[in-house]
């Protein structure tokens, strides 16, 4: 969790950057207040997000596709589901193409990341970002923002992997290798197994896992957004 520590008090940083920043899609994003961290989790809107990337190093690797859909309280809407291919500047390494199935040809007809980011930022405005192992999504996005707009990205983040870790801790169970992978976590909640591997279905998969996780927690107490976030 140490990775998140220096990012505390995002609301303050939002205000500071908003004043400092020239007009840009990122500034538009900061114009909208973050959801209240004291709000009941059901009053909050979330954006389930996933990317396919050329690798896991946010400094070197590039985003190949972005998938997201909204969750309003306890309900995920497929009507808002979006999937966008982005055009990388480098060549797609063979080993990552095996995973996501995005080849150079398809990617070269896609939009440049600069053109994709505004869509994603608009969708994220006023919402909490939700992903499985969200540190990847968060840092890739922040890096891209820094490169394109000169400022980093911050916002409340819900990480279904972190939530799953808490479940293990609260039950005093030891975590075995693979337990925290999205597919395995989903299996524990009786969620269906998705064969496909793309940004949108993984975003949906993470969103469903989130709904299952909070539904399971719900009988304990009133849950606030801050009980679910890794960054808030």
């Amino acid at each position: 969790m140490s990775i998140w520590k220096y990012l505390f008090n995002i609301e303050e940083r939002r205000n500071w950057w908003m004043r400092k920043m020239p007009p840009s899609p990122l500034r538009d994003y900061y114009e909208v207040p973050f959801p209240d961290k004291e709000a009941d989790w059901r009053q909050v809107d979330y954006l389930a997000v996933d990317y396919e990337t050329t690798g896991l190093d946010e400094d070197k690797d590039e985003i190949l596709s972005v998938g997201y859909t909204t969750i309003h309280g306890s309900c995920m809407r497929l009507g808002d589901a979006t999937h966008i291919l982005t055009r990388p500047q480098g060549v797609i390494p063979g080993e990552s193409a095996v995973v996501h199935g995005i080849l150079d040809d398809a990617a070269s007809s896609a939009e440049a990341l600069e053109d994709v980011l505004p869509h994603l930022l608009r969708a994220l405005a006023g919402k909490a970002m939700l992903a499985h192992f969200a540190t990847i999504e968060y840092h890739f996005l922040s890096n891209a923002c820094e490169r394109i707009y000169g400022f980093p990205f911050v916002g409340p983040v819900v990480d279904t992997l972190a939530l799953e870790v808490r479940v293990y801790r609260s039950q005093d169970k030891s975590i075995q290798q693979g337990d925290l992978r999205l597919a395995n976590a989903r299996t524990r909640y009786g969620l269906p197994r998705y064969r496909a591997h793309n940004a949108l279905i993984d975003a949906i998969a993470a969103g469903e896992l989130f709904l299952a996780q909070v539904a399971t927690k719900m009988d304990k107490k009133n849950i606030m957004l801050k009980d679910l976030t890794v960054v808030s």
Partner: protein
């Protein structure tokens, strides 16, 4: 939609009615989906939006409860509930309870209405009444019927294309011949006030007039065939074909009740292909020993497979298959009489149970009895009939129609009795309806004369009819008995399934689906004093008589057809796989489409059972 939603679309495609939509239409549907996760124990109440959305279960299980908390259905993956998903009469008080954590796809009511407006397939399926949906299923199942065997499903009514060509009995031979020539027909009916007097064919003109040099001005009654076979306009075409094959005739007058309705010729029928059943029956009538009959009856399994492959209706398949055991019975009786000499007193051989109702499918046990004339004297005639019954029942057993485990067969002394003894039996069963009596009543109230003296049988039937009609106490007992087999609440994994034994994890299609309807129809027709035995015929007749609502009767007819059809397909599948046919089906063998409709079927039966139970205050 985004192609990346394939995983979700693929799920919809597997489930009726979404599988009826084009890919484009499905892509549109995806946008309306809201995904929710419902925790075990969640109560989806009326005021909590149960009827504000249509829910499709992706994973997990939900229980639907009625007004008094009674269990209506257990639903699992692929099942729907909520807005427009349940039959109308259940909608008001329904509540849902999540019994296993669920991922559900939820369609808001307004989206459902929009979708239904755009896609008639959805509109039809999500129409509020169970029965209508079932009718949809039956037409759907029977879509690509094979014309080869269409005779099995065609009624004679549909084959008659013109008004009958008729002459009065006062006409001369010449006038008759002129009329035939003008009308270009090979036969003509002689009628008086629409009543059939006789028939004249080309062959009669050749053999009886020209060859004998008869005077053309003689009245036609001189050469007509007076006593002739006839067919009923509501019979199946194959029954007419059987009759022609058996009697070696080519023209069959068709009657609508007593009146002449038309003429059916061999040519009309050969337009349709001949069928294996017809060959089997005429073959049976040519055999002179049990061994050859045995050999022929091994083919009856193929017959069932052919019928299933041809998509004939279950009702007509029942008639066809029963016609084979009828033919076997008749032939065996003929062979017995050849051996034992002619019978000392008149008798009738009666089939009981499913044979009587013409509802046999794969080979089943034999249920039969012997009705003897009142002049029967056990000392003098007992031996003869005992031997006759022994010969026939043994023969049927050898042909695969095994001895009835309940011994309801003519070889049992008790079931080989003169008319007055039978009347006494029935009188006792009706006046003292104990459980054992009711069980016997169910078997012996479905009786049909297969062979022998029909007037003897009519006497017994008339007696029963009068004894039962309006007898509220007896009818209430029969109604109570008709409620003993309740269809299951729904399919929920193993919930309604049989556990252990040879039929592990299956459900009994006969006792959960067919027997309840047969029982209901029997009560209706006893109450209405109707003589019919076939369940479809009974339901048709009671609807006209008002014993049950027309809609209710129609729903039951469709339900019976649907469940019986599933049974025949199941048995055909077993026979093709080299297994013995039975009534035990695994839910795995059902398509989702069939599962949904089976649920509708069960809901129709339960509704009708509830109506009956209220009517007789059981």
């Amino acid at each position: 939609m985004e192609v990346e939603l394939l995983e979700i679309r693929d799920f919809l495609v597997l489930h009726h009615p979404f599988n009826q939509l084009s890919i484009d239409a499905l892509n549109g549907v995806l946008g309306d989906i809201e995904i929710r996760y419902l925790r075990r124990g969640t109560d989806i109440r009326q005021d909590h939006g149960l009827m504000e959305s249509l829910y499709l279960i992706r994973t997990g299980a939900v229980e639907l409860q009625g007004h008094d908390g009674e269990l209506l259905a257990r639903l699992a993956e692929g099942d729907m509930f909520g807005y427009r998903a349940s039959p109308r009469e259940e909608q008001d008080d329904i509540r849902g309870k999540v019994i296993e954590d669920c991922l559900v796809y939820q369609f808001p009511a307004s989206a459902v209405d929009d979708l239904c407006e755009q896609h008639p397939q959805l509109d039809y399926f999500l129409a509020p009444v169970g029965g209508d949906r079932l009718r949809d299923a039956i037409t759907h199942v029977g879509d690509d019927s094979n014309s080869q065997l269409s005779m099995m499903t065609t009624r004679i009514r549909d084959l008659i294309t013109r008004e009958p060509v008729i002459m009065p009995p006062t006409a001369t031979i010449r006038e008759t011949a002129v009329a035939m020539s003008e009308e270009r027909v090979s036969s003509i009916l002689i009628t008086q006030e629409e009543m059939l007097q006789g028939i004249v064919t080309d062959r009669d003109l050749r053999n009886r007039v020209v060859a004998k040099g008869l005077d053309y001005d003689l009245p036609v009654t001189e050469i007509m065939t007076g006593e002739t076979c006839t067919a009923d306009i509501n019979d199946y075409a194959f029954e007419a074909q059987l009759q022609m094959a058996r009697q070696n005739i080519h023209h069959l007058p068709v009657l609508d009740e007593e009146k002449v309705a038309g003429m059916l010729t061999a040519t009309d029928l050969t337009k349709h292909h001949t069928t294996s059943a017809v060959y089997m029956v005429s073959d049976i009538h040519k055999q002179n020993d049990i061994e050859s009959l045995q050999e022929i009856s091994t083919k009856s399994a193929d017959l069932l497979v052919n019928l299933a492959a041809a998509d004939v209706t279950a009702d007509s398949a029942g008639h066809v298959i029963t016609s084979v055991v009828d033919a076997l019975t008749c032939r065996l009786i003929k062979l017995a009489e050849d051996q034992l000499g002619s019978p000392p007193v008149p008798y009738a051989w009666l089939a009981a149970g499913s044979q009587a109702r013409s509802e046999q499918t794969a080979k089943s046990d034999q249920d039969n009895c012997l009705l003897l004339d009142d002049s029967y004297d056990e000392k003098k005639h007992g031996e003869y009939f005992q031997q006759l019954a022994r010969f026939v029942c043994d023969g049927l057993d050898a042909c695969g129609y095994f001895y009835c485990p309940g011994e309801m067969m003519a070889i049992t002394d008790k079931w080989r009795q003169p008319l007055h003894a039978w009347k006494k039996y029935f009188s006792k069963w009706i006046d003292q309806p104990e459980p054992k009596a009711l069980m016997l009543t169910c078997v012996f109230f479905d009786l049909r004369c297969v062979c022998g003296d029909r007037s003897l049988f009519r006497g017994l039937r008339k007696y029963l009819q009068e004894k039962c009609r309006g007898n509220r106490i007896f009818l209430a007992h029969m109604a109570g008995n008709a409620l003993t087999h309740r269809p299951p609440l729904g399919f929920f994994r193993n919930f309604v399934l049989i556990h252990g034994g040879t039929h592990d994890l299956t459900f009994d299609l006969k006792h959960t689906g067919i027997v309840p309807i047969v029982d209901l129809a029997r009560v209706y027709s006893l109450a209405a004093g109707i003589n019919l035995v076939n369940t479809q015929d009974r339901l048709k007749a009671v609807a006209e008589g008002g014993e049950v609502s027309e809609e209710g009767a129609r729903d039951l007819q469709d339900t019976l057809e649907f469940v019986s059809f599933l049974r025949i397909e199941h048995q055909a599948r077993q026979i093709r796989a080299g297994e013995d046919a039975d009534n035990f089906m695994s839910p795995k063998d059902l398509s989702n489409f069939e599962r949904n409709h089976l649920k509708d079927a069960f809901s129709v039966v339960r509704t009708m059972q509830n109506v009956l139970s209220q009517r007789y205050k059981i």
